[in-house]
């Protein structure tokens, strides 16, 4: 039997195409990009070697520090909301709405597929304060509060970015977790009910443990996306005001393509990669402990 499963021809034919594309487009450029960190310059002007200057510059660059902390704050907050609210949605779909959840699921999922730029422009106008108030400020004024220049300061712009990205993606996590909940056999829950388990303990002892794998998957998926946030911030605030909403991704983009420094851009990208790597490792280490699946 081994021989059949070890069919060389099959392995070669099925695995090679994916591996070749992946190696050439991802792995090799990663190494190459690492090499670029020791250079300065761009495609137009050519490159010159500058040793570890990029790294010393990275260490002392206030903009990198700001972008790093913005990325961390954003990723943690948005991931938390995405997973928790998504889980809440999934429970609602599965245990409250049951068969009739299709409509709500469809609707809440919808923003996920919209182009980010479209949503960003929509949110710009929703939260607009000049020249006329957008919907949010109109509501605030109507309930007796004063209007806020949402995108005019870093703190409030951050709030708008977070609200927008959670609104945009929570439906996806709802469906993702929901599909995991479907795998919990109904008879287990039924029998627990017949044994007289109350709603909360049912959730605590059966539903939650059994949905841990899917929660874990959502968490990985989410943190992976949020740490690389680019498009929504780019289109909503452009990283401003000042650099208050500039994540590492955007700083890297500006450095490479606006300030024409590919070398330093690669160095920032490397920092981002290391961040992703550390986060992934932490997740896997912690999952080994509390995930027996």
């Amino acid at each position: 039997m081994k021989s059949v499963l070890g069919d060389r021809k099959a392995i070669t034919l099925l695995l090679t195409p994916a591996l070749v594309v992946y190696t050439l487009i991802i792995l090799v450029p990663v190494l190459w990009s690492f090499g670029l960190t020791f250079f300065t310059g761009n495609v137009l002007s050519g490159f010159e070697f500058n040793g570890i200057e990029n790294f010393t510059r990275l260490w002392g660059d206030q903009y990198v520090h700001d972008a790093f902390w913005f990325t961390v704050r954003y990723a943690l907050l948005v991931t938390l909301f995405q997973v928790v609210l998504g889980y809440g949605l999934a429970l609602l779909y599965h245990f409250v709405l049951r068969k009739s959840s299709v409509l709500v699921r469809t609707l809440v999922f919808f923003p996920v597929v919209l182009p980010t730029v479209a949503i960003s422009i929509l949110y710009q106008k929703l939260f607009q304060s000049a020249p006329s108030d957008g919907l949010v400020n109109e509501l605030l004024v109507n309930v007796g509060l004063s209007s806020v220049d949402w995108l005019g300061s870093g703190a409030t712009a951050f709030v708008v970015v977070v609200i927008m990205d959670v609104w945009r993606s929570v439906g996806f996590y709802g469906v993702l977790v929901f599909s995991g909940l479907l795998d919990i056999p109904d008879d287990i829950i039924e029998s627990a009910r017949i044994d007289g388990a109350k709603t909360f303990s049912l959730f605590r002892h059966i539903v939650l443990p059994m949905s841990l794998p899917i929660l874990f998957a959502s968490f990985i998926f989410s943190i992976n996306g949020t740490i690389k946030v680019f498009d929504s911030v780019f289109a909503l605030t452009g990283g401003g005001p000042g650099n208050s909403t500039t994540p590492l991704t955007l700083y890297m983009y500006r450095t490479a393509f606006q300030y024409s420094d590919f070398g330093y851009g690669s160095t920032i990208a490397l920092l981002l990669t290391i961040m992703s790597l550390i986060v992934t490792l932490i997740i896997f280490r912690s999952s080994r402990r509390d995930n027996t699946v």
Binding site: M1, V4, L5, G6, D7, A10, I11, L14, L15, P17, A18, Y22, I25, I26, P29, V30, W32, S33, V43, L89, L92, V96, L97, L107, F110, V112, V113, L114, P115, T116, V117, A118, I121, L122, K125, L126, P131, S132, D133, E138, W167, V175, S179, L182, D183, P185, R193, T199, I227, D231, A235, Y253, A256, F257, F262, G265, I268, A269, S276, T280
Partner: protein, 302 residues
């Protein structure tokens, strides 16, 4: 709607006393359902209203938008905003471009990804775990880490001025997650099924195409949908490799569109967004049936 809600709420009621219902019980039932209804109403409003708001504002003149509350209906319904948006927004081109880069990438991702997932999970060979780990590493590598060398390479090759860079990068960057997901799905299928298929002289390759891939139809749809909106909504790669006007995707086109009008022409701007939203809505409703079918089938199997 309320009827179905009623029945489901009754069926999910956690009371298992096969006794007659007293009015008090019934009242408790209704009360118990109130939070759920409130939640649902809230969800619907929060999701749908901004889109509706955008739609009514896409039909307003500028002075109307600037001088009246934005939640009011238009004074005059300016349908020509849509014509203006279509003209100035270059929408025909951007929508076509988004499709040109998305669908070939999806096809490649699905075929290459499931084949690799099958090879890594079902077949047995040395270094299998290592290769899977290599793919796994790709999930976390940010695109920022690969764009600069690729930009350089594609520039040297002289293909920076085509759809190719986008398609290649989308395909490659979609593979890790797809391989990982497909491998996970294949893990659920006993190997004996594939072995049995090879007894009548078929090879493992045949087994993949005859049994593996069809069996995975729902998984493939799920994977394809996840990848679809990752690619469809990408901005970074589209910005870098599709900056030329005739390569602009929807995302880049909208970005430039907003620049062209700034704050001055709200109507056409909202109209342009509405057009892309409606297009996606149609596609989504069509795909959505597939998603739900896939998930339902999975549930039945489970």
């Amino acid at each position: 709607m309320t009827n179905t809600l009623e029945t489901t709420a009754v069926s999910t009621s956690l009371r298992f006393e096969p006794h007659r219902r007293t009015p008090w019980d019934r009242a408790k039932h209704v009360l118990r359902r109130v939070p759920a209804w409130l939640t649902i109403t809230f969800l619907i409003v929060v999701t749908a209203y901004p889109l509706f708001w955008m739609f009514i504002n896409s039909l307003k003149s500028n002075s109307d938008f600037l001088s009246n509350p934005s939640y009011a209906f238009p004074e005059v319904w300016q349908w020509e905003n849509y014509a203006i948006a279509w003209e100035t927004g270059n929408l025909a081109t951007t929508i076509t471009n988004s499709m040109i880069v998305t669908f070939p990438s999806l096809l490649l991702i699905v075929i290459l990804g499931s084949a690799a997932g099958y090879a890594l999970e079902v077949l047995v060979f040395k270094g299998r775990a290592g290769v899977l780990l290599l793919f796994l590493a790709g999930i976390m590598i940010p695109l920022q880490m690969i764009v600069l060398p690729l930009f350089n390479a594609f520039y040297q090759l002289g293909i920076n001025n085509s759809y190719l860079p986008m398609i290649l990068i989308y395909t490659a960057s979609g593979l890790p997650l797809t391989v990982f997901m497909m491998a996970t799905y294949f893990r659920a299928i006993p190997r004996e099924i594939f072995e049995a298929a090879t007894l009548d002289g078929a090879s493992m390759i045949r087994a993949f195409f005859a049994i593996g891939f069809p069996m995975m139809r729902n998984a493939v749809v799920t994977v394809a949908i996840v990848q679809f909106f990752l690619i469809w909504n990408d901005l970074l790669i589209a910005l870098i490799f599709g900056g030329k006007r005739d390569l602009n995707t929807i995302q880049v086109g909208l970005l430039n569109f907003s620049g062209e009008y700034g704050a001055i022409n709200y109507g056409p701007l909202f109209a342009a967004i509405c057009i892309t939203v409606v297009g996606i809505l149609v596609l989504y409703l069509f795909l959505n049936q597939r998603i739900m079918k896939g998930l339902a089938a999975g549930a039945v199997k489970g």
